[in-house]
Symmetry: C2
């Protein structure tokens, strides 16, 4: 049988089937499982890519009946029971579990994409990291005050957990990480704006926690705007209610859409493209095809379940169990999701957590968040390293992995930014660095000021 | 004054000038200082990029008279005392220290470049990492035995420290890191070949250590070929003495050339393009232009100094000191290099070290290597993290950061590899996995074997 996708759903399905008398092939377009809940930390350079990702075949090393292959599945031929790969190869299956998850959606405004990257993959994270830190680098070189303002204005679109976490981290970078490192700009003057279309951030939480989250964000210096819809996004910024916010760095955390793979199933999809599944998580008319995690539309108590790791993990285990039951001739069981709570971190010692039995905000919510996220990381080493990085960051506010690399990658998306200033004359620091501690006059500085 | 380059030379020059009454602008095309001696560890996924690199402005945060700007210098106008940047901007200087180092050279065979990447930058490291681990991923999918052999043959061109370290790490990946993770291939059967044009590896070391290094490499399973010149390299492999070595992964560690910036100085260069400097490290006829590190040809005892970190650091400090002396009206001092020894690591507990007073090989050389390299890392956090990663790797043979990301980056260099197998039919694992522990017959596996 075949599992498509190496995220939470695919990985936990494979682990569950490791004990069963089946041969499993797991396909993923990358070679690694990404711990998406911490992706925003890679984007803001709190963590290294290697800290939150693990090679899929490493995670499944002990599952000897599982073969991991790297390849992108483009289409499922349900009647022929065959999956087709991007490179023309194909694999037949008797049972298949689809767990290709979701990607970000621009609500039909795909023209926003190059100007407002979202956060789903390690590469997304590195691209966003590059945008953020390049903006500061350019601002340090920029002499036009208006352009400099735009470079130091960061807009996050979408007030869900990802948006809240990104905005909080961006504010911390500006206020706590960078200030002493620049000579011409004052990073702490950077503007971080969080745009939410609805009337509160973290809409999936109880209103009290949304309120606390907004307060904590504002304490960090984030400008939170609710009922604010971005109607246009381009290289110069965002338009909200007809008003332009000049910004060179916009991050998209607003919408998600199911991976296009669902379309090839020929079954009813919901409005975000998720396959509407039966209670046993198979699709109508094909008891051998299971869909789990963000790719599945699972109703519970009349509402669809949210696209969170816990839903992916629990539904994957249920699908695997239903396959095992079918092989044993036992009846399948309907999926029932057990909500273990939700949490979002906002900054150093700031977070909100809804654990059902308790609703926390502030330091203890942050502590709970940190402990749980470290425990869920796959691989002991990653846990140790991430703890060291966090402890370090907690006490020093430093973000060590602030590297801008893979520039070629960025150039794919749009022309590099620095060359846009072609022809501009760079004044020597002496001319334009009021905040510099005055150096004693010397032949050197005297000579330096010759140049303007 | 201006410093060009944020490597060992530029960074140590800026640190030395932090105490002087001058205003310094440091320019680098990236935002980070890379600890090049450990780059091969990023390429082989022993370390994360963030572990061996630090933002330049972070490293110089306390040097308040130093302004760090990100930008690529393309040309020095020595008569106008002006540096020109890629984007058309320029900066005037009274004194300038050039420390743009070296890049790899293909000895006039630039057509080798796309097929044999070298190791100089973080991006190089990630590209090589991607090639190495993609080769194993493809081999696991490959059904043609001949093609599979080529995918599992790794060739390192050049037997200097970098080549020796790469070859050793490649052998460890094959023999110790990957074996239990694949189902169709046996990574421990992978071939690692080190090609050296001269008659011994580590030619800059005493012959006894070259011999020991070769022995240690061979014990790890590396095939060491001396007096073996690569006359052609393409997508299918390397030609050595008219014989083809079929390989999909070739790494270039053979030659270096000075950064092209030296050409714009209008002074005599040596055969690898380094500027031949005066004893005080300035260039002939321009006492205000200093060249240090790999960019400078510095004679000592009739021989040019090697392109190692220690030469860069010591020459940078000397150039900075000579500028300070000139400003104080004191005479300049000629540069004298103090050799602190050389070491190269080969694998777990295997290395050679020439400390002058002692020549070590094996475990103690490795220990000395590890301690010294950790101590030289910039930033306390990096040291802690690297020690954790090494300790983990030492005891588990694991390489946690084995991520293949930035695929777009690779596509720039050449078409992606997987699609080249377009149309190939993937058999289901059942058909081709002898080493799989036999699963009990079940509807699942029965159905699976239907497909071939």
């Amino acid at each position: 049988m075949v599992i498509v996708g190496g995220g939470f759903g695919g990985l936990y399905a494979a682990k569950a089937l490791a004990r069963e008398p089946v041969r499993v092939t797991l396909l993923d377009k990358t070679n690694h499982h990404t711990f998406q809940p911490l992706l925003y930390q890679v984007a803001t350079a709190g963590l290294n890519p290697g800290d939150i990702a693990v090679p899929i075949r490493r995670a499944l090393r002990k599952a000897e009946n599982v073969t991991v292959l790297m390849g992108e599945v483009t289409r499922i031929e349900v009647d022929a029971r065959r999956v087709h790969l991007e490179d023309g190869a194909s694999i037949d299956y008797d049972y298949v579990i689809l767990a290709t998850g979701a990607t970000h959606s621009y609500f039909g405004h795909d023209e926003f994409a190059p100007f407002a990257p979202g956060l789903k993959t390690i590469d997304d994270g590195l691209l966003v990291r590059q945008r953020i830190y390049l903006a500061y680098e350019e601002a340090e070189r920029e002499t036009d005050e208006r352009k400099r303002r735009a470079l130091l204005t960061f807009v996050v679109v979408g007030g869900g957990p990802t948006g809240v976490e990104m905005a909080g981290a961006l504010a911390e970078i500006a206020r706590k990480t960078l200030p002493r490192e620049f000579r011409r700009i004052d990073p702490s003057k950077a503007k971080v704006i969080l745009l939410e279309g609805g009337d509160r951030v973290l809409a999936s939480y109880v209103p009290a926690l949304s309120e606390k989250a907004q307060k904590q964000l504002e304490q960090l210096g984030v400008e939170v705007r609710t009922r604010a819809l971005a109607t246009a996004i381009d290289a110069d910024g965002v338009i909200v209610e007809g008003k332009k916010i000049a910004s060179k760095t916009v991050i998209w955390a607003a919408g998600v859409a199911a991976s296009p793979l669902a379309r090839s199933l020929g079954v009813p999809l919901d409005k975000v493209g998720r396959a509407i599944v039966e209670p046993d998580l198979s699709i109508p008319g094909h008891a051998e095809v299971f869909v789990v995690g963000d790719l599945a539309h699972i109703e519970q108590g009349g509402n669809p379940l949210p696209g969170v790791a816990q839903v992916a993990i629990q539904s994957a285990k249920c699908a695997a169990d239903n396959i095992a039951r079918t092989l044993d001739g036992r009846p399948r069981r309907p999926f029932h999701y057990k909500d273990k709570g939700n949490m979002a971190t906002i900054g150093k010692a700031a977070a909100v957590a809804d654990l059902g039995f308790a609703k926390l905000a502030g330091f203890f919510a942050w502590l709970a968040w940190a402990v749980i996220h470290v425990l869920f990381l796959i691989g002991f080493k990653n846990r140790v390293i991430v703890m060291v990085q966090w402890a370090w960051g907690y006490f020093t506010q430093d973000r060590g992995s602030r590297l801008i690399h893979g520039m070629v990658h960025e150039r794919e998306a749009e022309p590099p930014v620095l060359p846009s200033r072609r022809g501009a004359e760079l004044p020597v620091p002496a001319a334009t660095v009021p905040q510099l501690s005055p150096a004693q006059p010397s032949p050197a500085s005297a000579a330096a000021s010759r140049s303007d």
